[in-house]
């Protein structure tokens, strides 16, 4: 099969970007979208041009590195997969495919299709953890956790930190990402003691990083390669309200 590509090219964050047109010929429908991009890049290299920069690593949907908008959709046309799990058979012979980077103020463009998502790390550093010294843990079976809770925590923990939720949201909100991490830790007994602090710090870090507000459209969940449920956002909202109220009644030191 053959397709035409309109690809966003941008030298760096200081320069303007633009769409360039390319042709990808003699493709096998069973090649992955990124393998198609590899072929285009080899052709560009052979003809003395600069290949298209795009982010990728595991190529099996788990590292969260790949991050293209394909025809306006984060991670392309298929539901519940990442860009690297998109195959050419999802397109038709002769299609024109538009490829852009994830766009959000908090994800500045590094080059072409590559963006800087360090803002997610910042949120994690603010509170996405359980405080436990190495070597100080009790026996793992000393705190039983019901299977339902453990499974729900795992559903949230499946987030790969790709940022598609942000790219899909018209406000560029990171609520789905934050709610997944906070949700996982808040559900587990080990995470309860720090629940309020975690929620307040992570939300504050999210605001500071320049992500927008959530207006409950839930485009995020629909675009998420791991189909993280928007219910975690509702849970985060509840946890946030509770934590805000409780923090205004902080225990005073005894006199």
């Amino acid at each position: 099969m053959n397709v035409k590509l309109r690809v966003w090219r941008q030298k760096n964050n200081e320069t303007e970007g633009r769409f360039e047109n390319y042709e990808a010929k003699d493709l096998n429908p069973n090649m992955s979208f990124l393998e198609m991009m590899d072929v285009v890049n080899e052709d560009l290299t052979d003809s003395g041009d600069e290949p298209i920069a795009f982010a990728h690593d595991c190529r099996e949907g788990i590292c969260g590195t790949c991050s293209c908008m394909i025809d306006g959709k984060p991670h392309g046309p298929e539901h519940g997969v990442a860009t690297c799990q998109t195959y050419m058979r999802s397109f038709k012979d002769g299609d024109t495919i538009t490829v852009e980077p994830f766009r959000a103020k908090a994800f500045p463009i590094v080059k072409d299709l590559v963006t800087d998502r360090a803002s997610f790390d910042k949120i994690q550093q603010a509170g996405g953890f359980i405080t436990i010294r190495t070597g100080a843990a009790p026996d793992a079976n000393s705190i039983p956790i019901g299977k339902e809770i453990a499974d729900l925590a795992m559903d949230a923990a499946a987030c790969i930190g790709c940022g598609a939720c942000v790219a899909a949201c018209k406000n560029a909100s990171a609520m789905l990402f934050v709610s997944a991490k906070a949700g996982q830790l808040n559900l587990l007994p080990q995470g309860k003691p720090e629940k309020d602090r975690r929620v307040l710090s992570m939300v504050a870090a999210m605001d500071e990083a320049g992500f927008g507000n959530c207006t409950n459209q839930y485009e995020c969940s629909a675009a998420c390669p791991k189909l993280i449920s928007e219910e975690f956002i509702s849970k985060l909202n509840r946890d946030f309200v509770g934590a805000t109220v409780r923090s205004s009644f902080k225990a005073k030191p005894l006199v």
Binding site: G48, A53, Q125, N141
Partner: protein, 638 residues
């Protein structure tokens, strides 16, 4: 070169405890005065950086990834072993130790493996406390499964995403330390050189992948947790960007490279579908519990599988290994698949595949049961190949999956280059000639949480406590110049062939001659071909773009340049190891029935290679493996 493994004296069970007791400590008030460079943020690097930061050292953690969470560890699926004996099925530290030694075909260091089994239990406690959502039973306790042919259920797992969850646990601990300011996170920074001053590793040179800036960093000690080198084969189950550069640069600066030829080839991966292929996807080994492996008896049989009658099929594993059948160990299954395909009986368009057939299991158990057991794997298979394994047999083929070899380290995880420590898949120490399933995650976290933090003070306490050396030192200047010169050379080369085309060609040489079955002639041929390819590379590689910005061709060019040197060393190692053991199979050394023939008289040792300079033959040194507690035995799976 002196290779002193520094194994503590005393009974096996007491060595580690004794070693900790006898080791020097760093006074808590002084810890802040020690700078430690951690290269890598996978299971090994992230867990060590977090723990050392928490202990009070000043840590800088480098990763070429844009976030620590993207390290290749994220992709591990199956699980992590630990001798918890929660299932009450007779597991113990000793049994895990023995299984690991035997699985490694008696080519690993007893004391290290015993310690690994001992600390395995702490890992699970640590991870559960961090909020790793391990699979649980209805009663709320942790679930286990048996994995990779083990006779006990000691594998802990988090759905099919164990590596992801363990890495995110370590990443959260690391993030906490970054937030507290004890660890400085240096993402998008690729280490391209080790700096050695007065015989000690004292720093590194990095290139920022986004800006191209080249920087010097000095410290009291340098730790590598930089992963394995399986991508020397180009196609593998590794993430595309995994590479050997950090380890190789250290090797060139004096660190011995041990057992480079020990490679694990996993039998159940999705076969190559065309020359555009960039990655091979692992399908869980558990499929072999119910799938039957076969190829047509006739050569070049192009009939679709359902038209090949039962008596014209060769269920070769069941035929050759009646008692283990389709569950024969990884190396044996992989080799048998290759033999069938080499014999012209492979299936699929390329002829490099064998069938893994579920039709009998579906008849016996019903499609629903099969779906329940393997539904997600069948989905992955469908997503990649567009074929339904409920209707047609899966096609599988072996792929490079793990490297047991790596930089030589002593019991303290320090290489022979003082001040350079190596952890995780990047070192050689614990898996011998073959790694058991679910043991790499265990080793990475053991090294990072529970071993290095205890052993690194022994080294630090011996140093005088002046600050880390100045980055104006002549050695730093020289190392930086080397990095710049190499980068400049690649960019200005203006050759005709792409980096990728060389990687593909190297991969083919390695796969053909240093893959599943190796021969003297093949290896000698490769030792001739690789230097020629290397020469051609430096003469004719084309690296488009500039050095002062993100340039993925340039990144790959440096990495492939190092693979082109490593590949040759792997072949030399395979050639001089005149025996078959674990993942290393020499056709000349087999029993009449095709089983691997070890030579414990001559080869019960670690081969550690010393770099002698470009164009010079490397020198092979050995560390004898002394077994105090176990006796050599032959693996048999008939």
């Amino acid at each position: 070169m002196k290779l002193d493994p520094k194994i503590p004296s005393g009974p096996l069970e007491k060595k580690w405890e004794k070693h900790i007791m006898e080791g020097k400590l760093v006074n808590p008030a002084n810890k802040r005065k020690y700078d430690i460079i951690m290269v890598g943020s996978g299971l090994a690097g992230a867990s060590a950086a977090a723990t050392l930061g928490e202990l009070g050292y000043k840590v800088k953690c480098f990763t070429f990834h844009d976030s620590p969470r993207r390290a290749h560890s994220i992709a591990a699926q199956g699980g992590i072993n630990a001798a918890k004996n929660y299932q009450n099925d007779g597991d113990s530290v000793y049994r895990l130790f023995y299984d690991t030694i035997k699985g490694g075909d008696f080519r690993s260091r007893e004391a290290n493996v015993y310690r690994l089994a001992q600390v395995s239990v702490n890992i699970i406690d640590q991870c559960a406390a961090q909020g790793v959502p391990f699979a649980r039973e209805y009663g709320g306790l942790l679930a286990n499964r048996s994995f990779g042919g083990a006779q006990v259920s000691r594998t802990f797992y988090a759905r099919g995403q164990t590596g992801q969850q363990l890495l995110l646990g370590a990443y959260s601990a690391l993030s906490r330390q970054v937030g507290l300011g004890t660890v400085e996170l240096c993402a998008n920074e690729e280490m391209l050189e080790v700096v050695v001053i007065d015989g000690h590793a004292k720093g590194i040179i990095t290139r920022n992948l986004n800006t191209g800036a080249i920087t010097r960093h000095s410290a009291h000690a340098v730790v590598l947790g930089t992963g394995g080198y399986g991508n020397v084969f180009n196609l593998s189950t590794y993430a595309r960007n995994s590479n050997v550069t950090a380890a190789w640069r250290a090797h060139r600066k004096g660190a011995a490279f041990a057992n480079p030829c020990y490679t694990q080839i996993h039998p159940t991966c999705i076969p190559v579908s065309g020359d555009y292929q960039s990655k091979l996807t692992l399908m869980s080994e558990s499929l072999r519990n119910d799938g039957r492996i076969w190829v047509p008896k006739k050569r070049d049989d192009k009939r679709p599988p359902h038209q090949i009658p039962e008596d014209e099929r060769d269920y070769y594993l069941e035929r050759k290994y009646p008692s283990f059948g389709n569950l024969a160990p990884r190396d044996i299954s992989s080799r048998s698949a290759k033999e069938a395909c080499d014999d012209g009986r492979g299936v699929g368009e390329t002829g490099l595949g064998v069938y893994l057939d579920f039709s009998d299991a579906i008849k016996r158990l019903g499609a629903d049961t099969i779906k329940e057991r393997y539904g997600n794997l069948f989905d992955i298979y469908k997503e990649i190949t567009d074929e339904s394994a409920y209707d047609v047999p899966m096609r599988i083929y072996p792929a490079v999956h793990y490297t047991m070899g790596g930089l030589w380290v002593d019991y303290n995880l320090m290489s022979n280059l003082p001040g350079l420590f190596v952890m995780g898949e990047a070192n050689f120490s614990d898996h011998g000639a073959n790694r058991l399933g679910a043991s790499a995650l265990m080793q990475g976290l053991a090294d990072g949480y529970f071993v290095l933090p205890y052993t690194i003070p022994h080294y630090l306490a011996e140093l005088d406590r002046d600050g880390a050396p100045s980055t104006d030192d002549a050695e730093f200047v020289k190392a930086e110049e080397e990095v710049k010169a190499r980068t400049e050379k690649l960019l200005s080369n203006k050759g005709k062939q792409s980096v990728k085309s060389f990687h593909v060609r190297l991969g083919k040489i390695m796969w053909d001659h240093c893959g599943m079955a190796r021969t003297k002639e093949g290896l000698e041929k490769a030792i001739k071909l690789i230097p020629e390819l290397r020469e051609e590379y430096w003469a004719d590689v084309r690296v488009p773009g500039e050095g002062k910005e993100l340039n993925q061709s340039l990144e790959n060019a440096g990495r492939v340049g190092d693979f082109l040197e490593l590949g040759e060393l792997m072949c030399r190692d395979a050639l001089t190891r005149e025996e078959s053991c674990g993942g290393h199979f020499r056709e000349e050394h087999q029993y009449p029935d095709g089983e691997a023939m070890r030579d414990d008289e001559k080869f019960a040792h670690v081969a550690a290679w010393e770099y002698k300079g470009e164009g010079q033959e490397p020198v092979r040194h050995t560390e004898e493996l002394e077994y105090e507690s176990v006796k050599f035995a032959t693996r048999s799976y008939k």
